[in-house]
């Protein structure tokens, strides 16, 4: 938790010690830069789009943050994006209703989370290895199931389109509203519940939690379930955007989410970070991608710039913290 070193000092000093402030400055600078760089950036329509774009990353980012705070990682969430869409679209097509597809889609995410969690907590295999295996395995299964041809939506249920593309008052994407609900709920859970406190303790030092009667494996397993579940929520939104189950969906998504939350101060070592930081990280990532797109910067430059910004943001944060 980004608790300051001591409670003394002025309000300003206290705020300064929060890790998120440096990130917020970066976000504001980027915002200003792209506002000057493209006349379209500050348009309401674009900002509304931007909000929609970061929603999927953030929803999965909440789940992954919970897991990373517990001291584990899941890089199978990109492949999961494609997997979850298959039962979703197939059952939708069979029943004609969007909501009938949602339950099996969410269960698929939970199942994958449970399998990952089982291998990590029962068989004690490193989570990077387990989920790396799952990353390949799931993508392979998707190729089998789809024959590398997208399964398109054949229903006429408008809900499927609306979840990802509808906007409240034509302004705020429904996706973003869902994202904020999930984000705020989990900010509260991490801060104000015994579950949240135990999660930080498990990520901070699992042996200590065992010594005080908390079962660290059980906590980590729950974190895997949460990560799988929220990743499948973002997968449903992605499928809705693509209006199909696409075998290419979510490629590179896992690293985008990892990079964004780590940039937001969620430490891969476990036990450190919070969702406000993670959100700012995702936001910065969103601004960069959106802004560079608008400025028509070539893909080759976009990749290089993205890479530089990730490393720079984390380095600046480390330096600042070291001197704090």
């Amino acid at each position: 938790m980004s608790i300051q070193r001591s409670a003394r000092g002025s309000v300003l000093l206290r705020v300064m010690r929060y890790n998120e402030l440096g990130l917020l400055v970066v976000a504001v600078l980027l915002f200003a830069f792209f506002s000057l760089g493209s006349p379209y950036f500050l348009k309401v329509r674009n900002l509304s789009n931007l909000l929609g774009q970061i929603s999927m990353t953030m929803i999965a980012g909440v789940g992954l943050s919970v897991l990373v705070i517990a001291g584990e990682v899941d890089i199978s969430i990109g492949s999961l994006q494609a997997v979850v869409a298959i039962p979703l679209v197939m059952i939708m097509n069979a029943t004609g209703h969007f909501w009938y597809g949602v339950i099996p889609a969410l269960l698929t995410g939970l199942l994958v989370g449970a399998i990952n969690g089982y291998f990590v907590t029962k068989l004690k295999i490193n989570s990077l290895i387990v989920t790396l295996g799952m990353f390949y395995l799931l993508r392979g299964l998707v190729y089998f199931a789809t024959g590398k041809v997208p399964i398109s939506d054949k229903t006429d249920d408008p809900t499927f389109y609306t979840v990802a593309s509808g906007k409240l008052f034509g302004l705020i994407p429904y996706m973003a509203i869902l994202m904020f609900i999930i984000l705020i709920a989990f900010i509260y859970i991490l801060r104000h519940t015994t579950f949240g406190r135990r999660l930080y303790a498990v990520g901070g030092n699992p042996e200590v939690t065992r010594a005080v009667g908390i079962n660290p494996e059980r906590m980590k397993f729950k974190a895997f379930l949460i990560c799988g579940l929220l990743s499948s929520v973002s997968a449903i939104l992605l499928a809705s955007r693509l209006s199909s189950a696409n075998h290419m969906a979510g490629q590179g998504f896992e690293f985008q989410v990892v990079a964004a939350i780590v940039m937001g101060g969620v430490s891969l070592a476990g036990g450190v970070g919070n969702l406000v930081g993670a959100f700012i990280g995702v936001f910065i990532f969103g601004i960069i991608q959106n802004g560079m797109g608008l400025m028509r910067i070539g893909t080759q430059y976009q990749l290089v710039i993205t890479g530089l910004i990730i490393v720079a943001a984390v380095a600046i944060d480390e330096i600042r913290r070291g001197k704090a």
Binding site: M1, I3, Q4, R5, S6, A7, R8, H192, T193, T194, F195, R197, R198, Y200, A201, G204, N205, E207, V208, T209, R210, A211, V212, G213, I214, N215, G271, V272
Partner: protein, 496 residues
């Protein structure tokens, strides 16, 4: 007896740690061709002294004379260069490399073109191994060797550097009897080569079998040095212990209730052999044992931290589920772990968050925390134990060792317990904090808890316990009432 020339002379060494004076002007001398024992209780200053000689710690004052030359040891490299090699209990070998590579780790023999001269390295390693009577292929991976063989590789490393002083730190604690006798043969060979050997141990029978002279430290001070023929075990024990202790410890709890903690035939694969014990409400039972006796293993096995191969534990008549610390904690058992950083504190978390970790249920309803109640209770214990911290939100990492230990104690005092197990509750903390913790142990018993204290400090053991159990080699080898417990009797049971 062993009249070699003076090799090493240490005079008036002082070493201060925050809050503790580990060495208070101690002396030590070592002759060539001599095996010199250094004995003392835990905390006497033996380890500090050898770490200074190994170049791991810097002395605050005093002189180290090596063959008459004043040494300033700044790093392990310095010590080795001068010819002082310490073989620590925790061996410092690289398991993924061969014997030869480990022996010549600091200075690989090179060919003229700068490449490693493997042939020379192997043949010289083979020579060295041969000189101490060890027939091992220098190409063997160190990871494949037994502990005893690894120790020999450390000794070979000393010889490759032509060390004149070899310091052995508790070398037999992990060895079988056969390995011990082989080690002694090797040590005697070193002696015959004219090396000076400092043999640090608390196993007195080994000292009498092997050594020529013996030096006793106690509480960071030099007590005595004499030829082994001029002393006996009784004299050494009294030199090691000799201190008025009883008055330091409050002992106000009286009256003992029902049996609360009952341990039956506990065995673990690694250490414990058929351990049974009972602790009653309002009773403090001390468990004494030297390093490696199995104290910590017993504490952890009772709490369900380690896998138990047979036997069981019950609290208040309710059997505990094996291997479940959650069940143990719910049944009213608390364990203060010995390893403060590894198993005690979550360093990234605050003082208050560390305190309430096992009792979160008491500060929440339906899983939602009440920060107000948590802060109030934490503050109460910060005041009660006089924990020095600028605030409850201070990261526990930044507290001193004694205050960290108090935070850990507060953690269990906050919770309603039936049994508390304290594993080395005062290790590494200053005298003031120590006596506060002793007072707390007394109060816990007064409040009707069953208290089990694992300790290797004799005064603490005698001061706090109503009953003393002695462990040795994973078994309980002695039991004494408070009145019958004498230092000599306990040490005898612990060493036998």
């Amino acid at each position: 007896m062993s009249g070699g020339p003076q090799l090493l002379e240490v005079r008036g060494i002082v070493k201060d740690f925050p809050g503790v004076k580990a060495l208070d002007g101690v002396d030590l001398e070592l002759r060539a061709g001599e095996i010199h024992a250094l004995v003392g209780e835990n905390g006497a200053g033996k380890s500090t002294m050898i770490k200074i000689l190994a170049g791991l710690y810097r002395k605050d004052a005093g002189d180290i004379l090596f063959e008459g030359e004043k040494l300033d040891l700044r790093s392990p490299h310095d010590s080795l260069e001068k010819g002082i090699k310490v073989v620590f209990q925790e061996l410092s070998l690289i398991k993924g490399l061969s014997i030869a590579e480990n022996v010549f780790l600091e200075s690989f023999p090179l060919r003229r073109n700068g490449a490693v001269d493997w042939k020379t390295m192997r043949s010289r390693t083979a020579e060295i191994l041969d000189s101490i009577g060890l027939s091992l292929d220098p190409r063997t991976m160190v990871g494949a060797l037994t502990t005893s063989q690894q120790q020999m590789v450390e000794i070979a490393r000393a010889l490759s550097h032509d060390a004149k002083v070899v310091i052995m730190d508790e070398p037999t604690s992990a060895l079988t009897p056969n390995e011990v006798s082989f080690l002694f043969v090797v040590i005697r060979k070193l002696k015959a080569m004219g090396k000076g050997i400092l043999y640090v141990s608390h196993k007195l029978e080994e000292v009498f079998e092997l050594c020529d002279r013996v030096t006793v430290y106690r509480d960071g001070q030099h007590i005595s040095t004499c030829d082994i023929g001029d002393t006996n075990a009784r004299q050494l024990v009294s030199d090691m212990v000799g201190r008025e202790v009883s008055t330091l410890f409050p002992h106000t709890h009286t009256g003992v209730g029902e049996t609360v903690l009952s341990v039956r035939g506990l065995c673990t694969d690694a250490k414990l052999r058929d351990v049974s014990l009972e602790v009653r409400a309002g009773e403090v039972v001390g468990v004494f044992g030297l390093l490696g006796a199995g104290r910590t293993e017993l504490a952890k096995a009772i709490f369900g931290f380690d896998r138990v191969s047979s036997g069981g534990v019950s609290v208040g008549g309710v059997p505990l589920r094996a291997g479940s610390t959650t069940h143990a904690a719910n049944a009213g058992l608390g364990l203060l772990t010995e390893d403060r950083k590894g198993e005690g504190l979550v360093l990234q978390m605050s003082v208050s968050q560390n305190m309430t970790l096992p009792s979160l249920a008491d500060f929440s309803s339906a899983g939602f925390m009440s920060f107000r109640r948590e802060a109030a209770k934490s503050q109460e214990f910060v005041d009660k134990l006089s924990i020095k911290t600028p605030s409850l939100k201070q990261k526990v990492e930044y507290l001193s060792g004694g205050n960290q230990q108090k935070v850990l104690l507060a953690r269990w005092l906050l919770k309603t317990l039936k049994v508390i197990i304290l594993d080395e509750p005062t290790r590494g903390i200053d005298v003031g904090a120590k006596s506060e913790i002793h007072r707390l142990i007394d109060e816990l018993a007064k409040d009707g808890l069953a208290v089990l204290v694992m300790t290797s400090e004799m005064p603490e053991l005698l001061g706090v316990s109503d009953r003393v159990l002695v462990m040795n080699g994973g078994r309980i080898t002695g039991e004494f009432t408070r009145d019958a417990a004498t230092q000599e009797a306990i040490l005898t049971a612990a060493i036998a």
